[in-house]
Amino acid sequence: MTGMIQELANFWSLSDRNVLWVLLGAALLGLSNGIIGCFAFLQRKSLIGDALAHAALPGVVFMFYFTHSRDPWLLLAGAGLSCIVAHVCSEYLIRRTKIKEDSALAIILSLSFALGVFMLSMIQKLPIPNQAGLDKILFGQAAAMNSADVKLLAISSCILVLLTLLCFRSWRLLVFDPVYATSIGLPVRWLQGALSAALVLAVVIGLQLAGVVLVAALILTPAAAARYWTNKLGTMLILAGMFGALSGVFATQVSYLAPRMPTGPWMVMAVTAIFAVSLLFAPSRGLLIRALRRHRQQLRINEENVLRTMYKLLEQHRSPLPGLDSAQILSFRSMLPQQLELVLKRLKRRSEIVQDGALINFTSSGYQHARALTRRHRLWEAYLAERLGLAADHVHRDAEEIEHILGPDLEAALLDELEQSTSDPHGRSIPRSISKEHEHE
């Protein structure tokens, strides 16, 4: 354990130059790819990152073959060029033929990858020096990053972030409503071109670290995760950038602590974990949160129903009863005994009811609450019957579902509509509101 902490301390002292480069590189890459990825994600071009990444491979190998150099700028240029060629080809296919976008991209993706792998194996047979590890571009190799690579990454990331800042408004309009954008005279082709170029750049700078196969995940997943947290594009960009950068830092740390661990795949794992957390826990959109909210709502409905049933049972008897037992409640309410148990426990805790042996009775606040609920329920039933002309025996079920969402404002509106009905469709009296009662006294 102390060894681990020692290692972590070593890591964060950043005394190791190499660690610093990798850390910076991964964070910057995650940041810029996350930001640019949002636009591709919102344009529903999920496959395009993948296609571009695979298309970069032949470009890199080709460039190396001609220049015999491993200069990152040169390889970047090669990758960029072949990405652009692939992009133009796929656009042509989409526009000029009946092929749909996803099929076109899939064709381009597999074709260029095949071409790249083919060229790679050709080159390995040639006596070109300095080629060891060129195939690392398939899966990425962060550990091999040096200051030149990081410099390239840093400059490219800055360009991407700046470009996004400059084009934010136009890109948002372009992605949201391209026809309208054209109609007000925006240079849509140029804007789309700039966006595509930014995407190409984001992909090719990721090759060294994440590799051809994984880089697309760094583009898409942060955006998908960020979408869960916000309804604002600006916030979404910031979040996606942060998610990307965080996973970069995390992955670098893992591969420092366990040197066998590759950075790229860990980065993808981390960002996917963030996505999973978002999917489950994001407020309002997260699955788990939604389920939890549904559960709470159901509990509340059960509680309100029990209170109302008790009110009805007690009301039916002229002379006040000493209380009810759960069997009586269950005979009027279809719910499981253990459900009722739970509801009663919660009501007791909130001191709306008191239990004396088997006998259950309202406290005074519980009584007021039950009475207000009954009033709302019967008002709603009366409204349904009177205004919508529903038969009395149909009304009850519909009323049950709506009444739980009626607030005091709607209650007042109902009352106005009904011009002070005093009985519900079943002929039972609608309890008057508490405040009214005081007025009359």
Binding site: R44, F176, I184, L233
Partner: protein, 255 residues
């Protein structure tokens, strides 16, 4: 006579060499409410897009106040059909309407107070001011339509082109929009919209353009909206022209 707001001259529009509008020729005077009417697939949306200069025309031209449309885009506001955008896009009502103001601004220009006022006014005018901070996915169909109209209003244009603003909206929204049109007319703005309801046509619009691949008739509603013209618009579906269009299409499929 004064220069017409919109003059369409001999316009032919084609999608991939397949013409869908032939030799359209009409003009609309300034300050009138005009409806483009025709059956489904008649090319009404295509006509609006061509007037905006969104589609390349095979022949003919469109003039806006006597000048080519591309020079005059800033005074035209386009309201697309509602289905054309992704309503789950992360953006609020206010931000969409703000596009009408800032869409054309260079990035270094900040949103001015004037822009903000125009947006608020547009939102109020279509009755969705209270919804301005809502996300657009939380709107009903009629409210979505109002957002688009507000965006066009915020543009403060002279000519408004709307593609079926009444599609799928309730009577209250329809009435509100028509009121708005009358206000625009009073301010000498020109409104051209695709309209499907023949019952309300004469009531709402003072100018109609009847199209069905070709121009059937265009002019003042009272003179143009005759049973004969309507019959030509909706009846002659398999007239010579649609047959030719169909042939052109078949040949392309064969090729």
């Amino acid at each position: 006579m004064s220069i017409p707001a919109v003059e369409v001259h001999d316009l032919t529009v084609a999608y991939r060499q397949r013409p869908v509008l032939w030799d359209i020729d009409f003009s609309i005077p300034e300050g009138c409410l005009a409806a483009v009417v025709g059956p489904n697939g008649a090319g009404k949306s295509t006509l609006l897009k061509a007037v905006m200069g969104l589609l390349p025309s095979t022949s003919g031209y469109v003039n806006i106040f006597g000048e080519p449309v591309l020079n005059k885009r800033s005074i035209i506001a386009y309201v697309p059909q509602r289905e054309e955008v992704d309503w789950d896009f992360p953006i609020t009502v206010q931000e969409v309407v703000m596009m009408g103001r800032t869409g054309r601004l260079p990035f270094w220009r900040r949103v001015s107070t004037h822009d903000r006022n125009m947006v608020e006014q547009a939102l109020t005018e279509v009755g969705i001011f209270d919804l301005k901070h809502r996300h657009i996915s939380e709107l009903s169909g009629g409210q979505q339509q109002r957002v688009f109209i507000a965006r066009a209003l915020a543009q403060d244009a002279a000519i408004y082109l709307m593609d079926e603003p009444f599609a799928g909206v309730d009577a209250a929204t329809e009435k509100a929009v028509i009121e708005l049109f009358r206000k625009l007319k009073a301010a000498r703005k020109t409104v051209i919209c695709v309209h499907h309801d023949l019952h309300t046509l004469a009531d709402y619009f003072d100018y109609v353009v009847l199209v069905n691949l070709r121009l059937v008739a265009a002019g003042q509603t009272s003179a143009t909206l005759t049973p004969e013209n309507l019959n030509k618009t909706y009846g002659g579906r398999l007239g010579l022209l649609s047959e030719i269009t169909e042939r052109v299409r078949k040949r392309q499929v064969d090729m």
